[in-house]
Amino acid sequence: MSAPVVDRLAAALDARRPYWSPARRFAIWALAQLAIVAIALRVRPDAIERLVHVRIALEVALLALLGASGAALALRAAVPGRHPGRALTIAAGTLAIGVAVTVLPDVTLAAVVPAGWPCAVKTLLLAAIPWLVLTVALVRGAVLLPLVAGLLAGIAPLAMAAALMRLLCGNDDGMHLLVWHDLPLALGVAASVAVGAWLFVGWARRRV
């Protein structure tokens, strides 16, 4: 029998504020994300004019959709029984591939890669705060699939940042986009997976 364990756990119980629902946390994340978009567009009001190009508008819309759905799924991953199921993960994966195919720039190997590192830095900076918001939410929850949660927590803010950078950066050269926009996104997602694998399992090691 686990009677001693039951006694000990009951004795160790203290009142705890329930974990905020994924919907509530998504609202907080969306607010943080909107604040960043608003600040960026206030600094560069001309960026919005790039949306008149259908291709760019489509890319931005797809990236924003990927970011929002990634955040929603990531936040569900923090609650046992609500973590994204196989169907949802497949749907998100399909969307990600769709985005990649649509957004994948028309690269010419002969193109010279310009020194576009500021775009990479800006992408990562724009993603930093929303990523932190998601990560804090996930650390406070009970993540059962840390790698998936890390992946989604990386995709969400970086896709949003990439969408924003598509407006802020006027360089449409394929190689520039691939190296200084898409590569930081991929590396950032990989870093988020690594951080998630380490950080999101902490709840299961908490002392009782």
């Binding site: 364990v5 039951v6 756990l9 609650v79 029984g81 299961a204």
Partner: protein, 225 residues
Amino acid sequence: MAAVALSASGVYAGGRGILAARTRDVPGGPIHVSDETGGRAGTTNADRRLGDRAARMARAQQGDREAYHDLLAELDAQLRRSLRRRLWPGEDIDDTCQEVLLTLHRALRTYDASRPFDPWFHALVRHVLLSARRRRRRRPVLESVEPERLAEMAPDDARDGDLARVVDAALGRLPPAQRDAVRMLKVEGMTVEAAAERAGVSPGGMRVRAHRGYRAFRALLGFDE
């Protein structure tokens, strides 16, 4: 109401390798951890009781120890009934139930009282079972060794009756965490709390390690044959 069941299709059949919350397609049948009163007449009671669990969890989140104690005891009893014939060889029902309860305690605040209790609880049970099996796959497999064979494996003077050497050789074959637990508790005579402090784990975790260590140790010495 359809009984919510935790099936273990892949794990027990050695197939897909995952646990799925389904009520069919389960070689050996599902693991029922929800309340079962059976038949239509009992459905209302089952519903009421499942709702009651959600209510008790909500009270537990507010610090009601009595409600929490009742709930844990009820879940423990049902888990034992459900898991008894479903565990893999070498898996211990005490360890599994204890691990599930500890995990539930750690994840307590993530339960949303406005939602059904069972999907939340089943996800934790699945997680505990899969994590334990993943850990077992990563660890070196402990072979059960005949005492005579163990003596052969030990240094020469062990064959001359040096039991301490034989025991030491068996200890050396335990996974490091279990070996340290057995050494600290049985060789050095430390208390569970002190050993837990030194190993950097909770006292409960230390008990689990020691318990697994004892069983593996017995198997190595051939006492479980």
